[in-house]
Symmetry: C2
Subunit: 732 residues, 2 copies
């Protein structure tokens, strides 16, 4: 089936690779293949239609018919993201892509004609285009303000071309190849070496565009450039991207928002490679890291939305087009039925053989609920740069989920939020992560770019549920320095009734060590799992320690007296994000237990905190120093301890009750916990939770990963003994 | 079928009424009837099951089985709303109700036994109970803190009794009748004459409970008391409630939130009357006002939620149990198929013959989309106390909807918000009404009662989208005075492309007349209808006029320079709700056009305002002087004009564009309007809207309801002539 025409040998990452380029494979051969076309045609002839596939089919038809009605619109590029020419060129690449595929599937020459006209119109102008007049800081494009968009354009357009190439006249095909596709590929590689050689999603998109063009044009040199980089030695290019950007667990160092985006060129180019050169076994590369990455992307979501860690638009979720491709590919390669529930949620699939397979399986009812699980996703190319811990407890996709961010910085889009966590419960985000300060593609909001407040607020440590020392961000807010350090995961355990992750962080602050242990405990005395959190820090000097909890919902109760700033408000500080927080109210310095309850939609939550002596509770709200109304509204409670060298905060978060105003029904709006005691002795924590019913739950944390050792702690005259990092103590 | 045993003659509201009480009708005969039982049994025997009915059936079974497992729990009443004993007694009335009905439908004696045991347990304690220890300000109950709950309890419990009465031993029946039902009925009427005689939903509930007890106990005197009041002359009682609480259009003076609640005793007691004494033709009373009221309740909703005017919990919507009853009754009496879409939305029905009819019709696919329409609901017993105008434009249930509140005060739960409006668009509330400050049944929020902030903020004029004069509320915030006045609706017109309502208000402020004309215009130049709003006021003295727009969403653009209070915030004022508003930013005094855009979910909105010279824009946010965090977060823009005797504000609200961050697609985020001019001359408004495309739209408002007169206005040398209150002018 595949005929060999060229054989290149190269050394890449210490491995001998045989690069075999079939210069004249049967087209189409990128994502849609000749076999896929046949399967789809047969299925349609047999009138076997499947809703997910039909949805994609109808979308494509509507898009192309609309474009045919409008005529060929290839405007001179002038607008930034969100503007007319930007959106037009985005739409055009989809039109060319879809028209090519529809021509393959239906054989309708109107689609061939339209795709050809579009491509010729671009070929007419492309080479003479100057750089885009509105240039992003780096790496401008010609059709778009940044060449990233141009790579995405090429990845789509070349698929449309691949689908019609054999039906083109030699003249038209030569014009399109020589005056459009090859120039774009050269522009994105030879003329933009910095982007092309970057180990970064921009580089992956460029490699995918260039490499897929190589296959479509039967040009092995373009494929080689894409796979092994400009210098041909594998120090850049697709394989280097695949080796360095994903951890062995398939975690992408920038986090799920960019993982979703980065996944698409990886998946598409890998598909194209596999269709043209299956001998490369690209999907088996690094123990199948690409399929692991697809699974990891889905795992990093709750209620359909991605965990919004690092720079992330919170609306993004599993139904994005990138994941539609990924799920189709993963299902057809693994046959994992639980992927079908994701496809079903997406409501559509892709117009390829894989898409048909998925759509058919969903229609036949083969789907199962996706296997969301408790897991640790190690970060770093070698998996030794911290980890994202996902703790889940309960049944189904909306099981309570804790996301502990013990990863590395994640480059320029990373936030200074090590050891922070997000709590999801009952289908909603309860303790929240702000995500990015950005309104995607809204021109009046700085052209849809990241806003200044993304730097001044969203990235800063105080914007997250983690400890801040002396009102400054981790690593002084310098991401290049932050990039060199990461937390050490001391312990991780996933159990049926108890999950735990513990990590420590050095170097974020001078001479300071921070440790956090997060336990998720399912106990029969409670309707929902408890989150138990021990956050400690020790420093050489006396310091101010701020531990924030950003909650979503309405404050309904607080245990102490509050001094509310009812007549005037001031910001909490001057820099590192503090300037954006209004101080709404301050509590009395506490000794002992502090209790705070809020209502989120239909459930109540109570935070019980045993904080260091004289800790001051401060209620804050975003919005200070925000003259352009760029921030969203977000409330938080900060526990502030002043003038100590070491602190140890115990926080227990208890979901309880039900609030149903529609049915006028409320129950369990009070916490069931009467009292919590916390003893820390000889390195171990003993936590005693006393229920209002009198029942007592004792949790012991040895802070020692050695599972063989026996630990002892003396409390109120009783000696407790146990083994393991954390355990629920039972009375003898 | 119905045998006559007693014949009473009474005079009520000038009409001769024959009150015929059948002292021994075949039980059950209240809501569930013997015929209904037979139909349901037959349907189940034939294995004809319908999801809506089965949902109700399974709910009831689960509830009663749970209660049987728990045993009879009739605690001594101690807790206020939301507390244990309160919720327990609420649950119990549902258990007794459901157990009785299940006994009828299934013949299972376990249900008979449980209902009997429950009733006997209550009979054991009821007479000796003192008034509830936690008494609401007025009208305490014995089982509950207010006797309103006790009426609701009786309405349910007597239905359960009615269903089992004929199966009880004579002894048990006598105990329950003499030591429970009759004492409760007497307590709610004879011993609480003030509530019982009040023309108010509390009175309706009491009348329904007492009257239904009369039918169940075959006691005509109780029925008479309920129908004609304590004095038997019709000055109070059910008929008086029906005559005075609803307007001829079926509008309930307190607004939809209480209409929904009040509807239930009306519907239930009317059903019971009709089942026992069809001769009364109660559903035909006042031209079928009860069925009109059911329709009006549904009309007063958007996206399933009721318009939150006056004291209202915003979560309440069409799926509340009250509406489930109402829809079942209305469908079985009218056969209106569009009611079935509401039943379908509710997802359940009631366990009666009517319920079966609805469930069957839904299952057979007979449903049609509910006929939401543009309409005016006149307020007041005679329909002459203002009106609620509902303007709708577009297709389907999510068509753009404007709710203009030109009604009377609506008694103690009314807000001082005459001439305000709410704008719904694209499925969401865009210009909002705060609703009530209350967390229903949350003990830590003042026991779930209306909070102090309901008075200090939610009711005040400044909390609404209407004009405030001199920083004080309409009628000085005195509802009893406000109760005497209402707006005059000058004009109302519903058209295919243009809806309009215009009203004027006197007496709200000394020597001040306020007028507002709201136009909803569907014009081909725009993707969605425009809201065009002319608000004017004239006063004897120079005054400060504040016109607020409370918007939901993120500010994305503003036409002028803003002075943001970035480092410190102060409240806008000291009283009448102003003390709760933080001043976020102030704009420069404007001359000419002011433009403000915000983003709500997936659509952009731009307010174009042509305000009086030197009007100052002020951005505000709730939260000042709110020490207990009782307020929700709400942003607004206030247009403030100072030092004039007369003002005229033109506001045009333009929905535009689409924002889709999941698909990374944004379009039309800029307004399409380049400029707006407003000429007011000889009593007429000429509004010129100039599009960015150059197209011009001219709207003329004559402010004259006389449709025969020709109006003329001179503008820029051109004389325009037209007929009618409002018109789109076409160039000759």
């Amino acid at each position: 089936m595949k005929r060999l025409r060229a054989l290149l040998v190269a050394i890449c990452a210490g491995t001998m690779l045989f690069i075999m380029v079939d210069a004249k494979a049967a087209r189409p051969s990128l994502i849609l293949t000749a076999e896929g076309v046949e399967a789809i045609r047969k299925s349609r002839q047999a009138r076997q239609t499947y809703p997910l596939f039909e949805a994609a089919f109808e979308d494509a038809k509507a898009r192309v018919e609309r474009s045919i009605a409008e005529g060929v619109l290839v405007p001179t590029p002038v607008d930034p993201g969100g503007g007319y020419t930007h959106e037009r060129h985005k739409e055009n690449y989809k039109v060319i892509h879809d028209a090519g595929i529809l021509f393959q599937l239906l054989g309708d020459k109107r689609y061939l004609r339209h795709a050809t006209d579009m491509l010729l119109a671009y070929a007419e102008i492309y080479e003479d285009l100057p750089l885009h007049p509105v240039q992003k800081r780096q790496s401008p494009g010609k059709l778009f303000w940044q060449n990233l968009n141009e790579s995405v354009w090429l990845v789509h357009v070349v698929q449309g071309f691949d689908a019609i190439a054999d039906a083109l006249s030699d003249k038209d095909r030569a014009i399109i190849e020589d005056h459009l596709l090859r120039p774009v590929a050269d522009f994105l590689s030879l003329q933009n070496p910095e982007t092309f050689q970057k180990i970064h999603n921009h580089g992956t998109w460029a490699a995918a565009g260039v490499g897929m063009t190589g296959y479509a044009l039967h040009d092995p040199s373009l494929v080689e450039r894409a796979v092994l980089g400009l210098t041909g030695d594998g120090t850049s290019g697709f394989l280097a991207q695949l080796d360095q950007l994903f951890s062995p667990d398939g975690y992408y160092t920038e986090g799920p928002y960019y993982q979703r985006y980065a996944l698409m060129p990886f998946v598409l180019f890998a598909q194209a490679i596999d269709h043209n050169e299956p001998e490369r076994k690209i999907f088996e590369h690094r123990n199948g890291v690409l399929l692991k990455a697809i699974d990891a992307t889905i795992q990093q979501s709750y209620a359909g939305k991605f965990f919004p860690i690092n720079d992330a638009i919170k609306e993004k979720g599993l139904d994005t087009q990138e994941l539609v491709y990924a799920v189709a590919v993963a299902f057809s390669r693994t046959g994992r039925n639980d992927l079908l529930s994701i496809a079903d949620y997406q409501g559509k699939t892709v117009l390829t053989g894989d898409g048909l397979t998925v759509a058919r399986a969903v229609s036949e009812g083969a789907g199962q609920s996706f296997a969301f699980r408790t897991m640790m996703l190690r970060d770093g190319p070698d998996g030794d740069q911290g980890a994202l811990a996902i703790l889940r407890m309960g049944d189904g996709p909306l099981a309570q989920t804790i996301v502990a961010k013990n990863t590395s910085q994640g480059m320029g889009h990373g936030h200074f939020d090590k050891l922070s966590y997000i709590l999801y419960d009952n289908g909603r985000e309860i303790l929240t992560d702000y995500g990015a300060a950005r309104f995607l593609n809204v021109p009046s909001k700085d052209g849809g770019r990241y806003l200044l407040e993304n730097q001044s607020w969203a990235k800063q440590t105080i914007a997250h549920n983690t400890l801040v020392v002396n009102e400054s961000s981790q690593f002084g807010g310098d991401w290049k320095r932050a990039q060199k350090y990461w937390p050490t995961v001391r312990y991780f355990e996933a159990g049926e009734r108890l999950n735990v992750v513990s990590a420590s962080l050095e170097n974020a602050y001078p001479d300071t060590v921070i440790e956090r242990t997060v336990v998720q405990l399912d106990h029969p005395a409670f309707a929902a799992p408890l989150l138990i959190d021990v956050m400690s820090a020790s420093s050489q000097e006396k310091a101010t320690f701020d531990l924030p909890f950003y909650f979503d919902g309405q404050i309904v109760d607080f245990s102490g007296a509050l001094q509310a700033n009812t007549e005037s408000r001031k910001p909490l500080g001057q820099a590192h994000g503090y300037q954006h927080l209004w101080v709404e109210a301050t509590g009395q310095p506490t000794n002992g237990l502090l209790r705070f309850s809020w209502l989120n939609a239909r459930r109540f939550y109570t935070l019980h905190a045993v904080a260091p002596e004289k800790t001051k509770p401060v209620f804050v709200r975003t919005g200070a120093n925000d003259p352009d109304f760029n921030l969203r509204d977000q409330q938080g409670l900060i526990l502030r301890s002043n003038g100590r060298k070491a602190v140890r905060f115990l926080s227990v978060i208890e979901p309880h009750g039900i609030y149903n105003p529609a049915a006028e029904f409320t129950a369990g709006s009070d916490s069931q916990i009467a009292r919590i005691d916390h003893v820390f002795e000889a390195g171990a924590d003993l936590i005693k939770i006393e229920m209002k019913t009198g029942e007592i739950i004792r949790l012991a944390i040895s802070n020692d990963p050695d599972s063989e050792k026996t630990h002892r702690i003396l409390s109120a005259g009783h000696e407790w003994a146990w083994r393991g990092f954390v355990t629920v103590l039972e009375e003898e």
